[in-house]
């Protein structure tokens, strides 16, 4: 979906992005992870040309971004940012409808799309449609912000620390929703964050950046198990490494089929960490597991978690 090839960007003498190359496959959830000033936001903003590239090339869906008028390019790419940037003088509906209107969709289709997105983000359409941004909580605003980014049905979604400014509980809910939406829509997402937990939770692929370069690229598990160097090791944090490993693995392939246990079953896609947490809370070492349709598939045991 995205091919970034030897891209460099300098401000004065400072190279913020240094001959960076990265390929993101269609359907991937790629997280650019690094501390502030590492060039991750700059990289993201070069994809939709909010920042001009000094040298190198970026291709989106096979097309060189500099060969498309910037407005046309941006209407095809969803964009959500930390400050959300909802238009304060427009209703929720108008905000979400921004890109579909730019794309000149018919009225009825725009209205249906707004309804559909509000439902997707669990905002009751008739209650929220005509509200103004200042009438919404921070979490609701960010939901509308992400809904607006998805409105034009883009194949690619760019997100720049979208959940960094919301409280931890709301952030947790928003991350869960984004993961659910990513699975449901199979959109390609490039997501910038400095939060390692957020990256582990959401990413299919993590690119750890430092001083304008990618220092390691891999799945959350690869990054945790085999940090490429001390920088990555320090960044992902050796402390609590075990718990982080548990958080990126699912219980699915550790289920003992055919056995049964008492209690509320866990879904198959529960992380080992959440399963451990549930066992600790319920004072048990065995919990039943059910699939997406709610059928019992077996049991997860404490010993299986740490294998």
């Amino acid at each position: 979906m995205i091919e970034i090839d030897q891209v460099t960007k300098s401000y004065g003498d400072r190279r913020v992005v240094d001959s960076l190359s990265l390929t993101v496959a269609a359907g991937d959830f790629c997280v650019l992870l690094g501390s502030s000033g590492c060039g991750k936001s700059t990289t993201l903003r070069m994809v939709n040309r909010l920042i001009a590239i000094d040298s190198g090339s970026i291709r989106v869906a096979g097309e060189d971004v500099t060969q498309v008028p910037p407005e046309m390019l941006r209407r095809r790419i969803g964009y959500a940012i930390q400050s959300i940037g909802l238009f304060p003088h427009w209703t929720v509906e108008d905000n979400i409808a921004t890109v579909p209107r730019l794309l000149k969709w018919p009225q009825g289709q725009i209205r249906d799309r707004v309804t559909q997105l509000l439902e997707l983000f669990r905002l009751e359409p008739e209650r929220y449609r005509n509200k103004y941004p200042h009438q919404l909580s921070g979490g609701e605003q960010q939901r509308v912000g992400v809904a607006r980014a998805l409105a034009g049905d883009p194949e690619l979604l760019l997100m720049d620390e979208p959940f960094a400014a919301v409280d931890p509980i709301t952030r947790d809910a928003l991350q869960a929703e984004l993961a659910r939406i990513h699975q449901a829509t199979t959109k390609t997402i490039v997501f910038v964050t400095h939060d390692i937990e957020e990256a582990l939770r959401l990413a299919t692929q993590i690119a750890i950046m430092n001083e304008g370069r990618i220092v390691q690229l891999g799945s959350p598990l690869e990054i945790l198990e085999h940090p490429a160097n001390d920088f990555v090791g320090d960044f992902v944090g050796r402390q609590g490494l075990g718990l982080k490993l548990l958080s990126v693995r699912k219980i699915g392939d550790r289920v003992r089929a055919g056995e049964t246990a008492e209690g509320e079953p866990l879904p198959l896609d529960t992380s080992l960490r959440d399963a451990l947490s549930a066992m600790t809370a319920r004072r048990t070492d065995r919990l039943p597991v059910s699939d997406a349709e709610g059928r019992d598939v077996g049991v997860i045991a404490l010993a299986d978690l740490v294998r």
Partner: protein, 244 residues
């Protein structure tokens, strides 16, 4: 506000009082006679106050419309990336326009454009430019960075960003600048009477020349009411804009 009905609106009462004085200043004759017993005639009589007001209004409207158009256009220009370098220059020119006394502008303008309304409009235009430019720049720059970035990132063209985002969000601040500018212009326009423009300042200067204080008073009260009324109407407009 709306619930209390029109009678509770100060705009209505000030407006009625102003209209009454414009059309029937002679109703004040007994009061003025008591204050200035020896002066006759006591009401300014060379031309109706209504005519003077309409001419005054015309001068202010022409100058303020021009200042608004030029001021907002310049502010838009210097807040776009193409015009950013001109910002200091535009600000300096507008400041010079306001520090230059209108009387001096009249003195310079008369030999060039002659007597009559034209030098007054020029002076008012230059004098009124600064508050409009300053507020318009402040308003346009006050649009939150995140909103501007979102607008650009979603693919609005520069023109769409200006029309749909920057201008509507800056409108209250721009309007506040126009309000200040117009209110000042209403007071300043009286000076135009010294170079042949018809304004509510005409009775003031005529009264000063002939040592007839009542004329000065009549003109001054009308100008003050005109300014207050205009200011109130702008306040209403601002509130209406804020509600939307």
């Amino acid at each position: 506000m709306r619930g209390k009905g029109v009678l509770a609106s100060p705009v209505l009462w000030v407006g009625l009082f102003f209209a009454m004085l414009l059309l029937r200043m002679d109703l004040l004759k007994p009061v003025l006679h008591r204050a200035f017993p020896r002066i006759e005639p006591i009401i300014y009589g060379r031309g109706s106050f209504l005519t003077l007001f309409l001419s005054h209004l015309g001068l202010v409207a022409a100058a303020s419309l021009a200042a608004t158009f030029v001021g907002v256009s310049l502010a838009i220009f210097v807040t776009r990336s193409a015009g950013r370098d001109f910002r200091a220059l535009v600000n300096a020119l507008a400041t010079i326009g306001q520090t230059f006394p209108p009387a001096a502008v009249l003195a310079i303008a008369v030999p060039i454009v002659g007597f009559g309304p034209r030098p007054t409009v020029i002076a008012l235009f230059l004098y009124g430019l600064l508050p409009i430019i300053e507020n318009a720049i402040a308003g346009l720059e006050g649009v939150p960075q995140g909103v501007r970035e979102a607008a650009e990132g979603m693919g609005l063209t520069p023109w769409q960003r200006l029309r749909d985002v920057d201008l509507p969000l800056a409108a209250p601040v721009i309007l506040a600048g126009i309000r200040v500018s117009v209110t000042i212009a209403i007071g300043t326009a009286t000076v135009g009477s010294t170079v042949g423009a018809l304004t509510l300042g005409t009775p003031i200067f005529s009264g000063l020349a002939a040592n007839k204080l009542p004329f000065v008073l009549e003109g001054a009260v009308l100008v003050a009411l005109f300014a207050i009324l205009t200011d109130m109407l702008f306040a209403r407009l601002e509130r209406w804009l804020a509600i939307r």
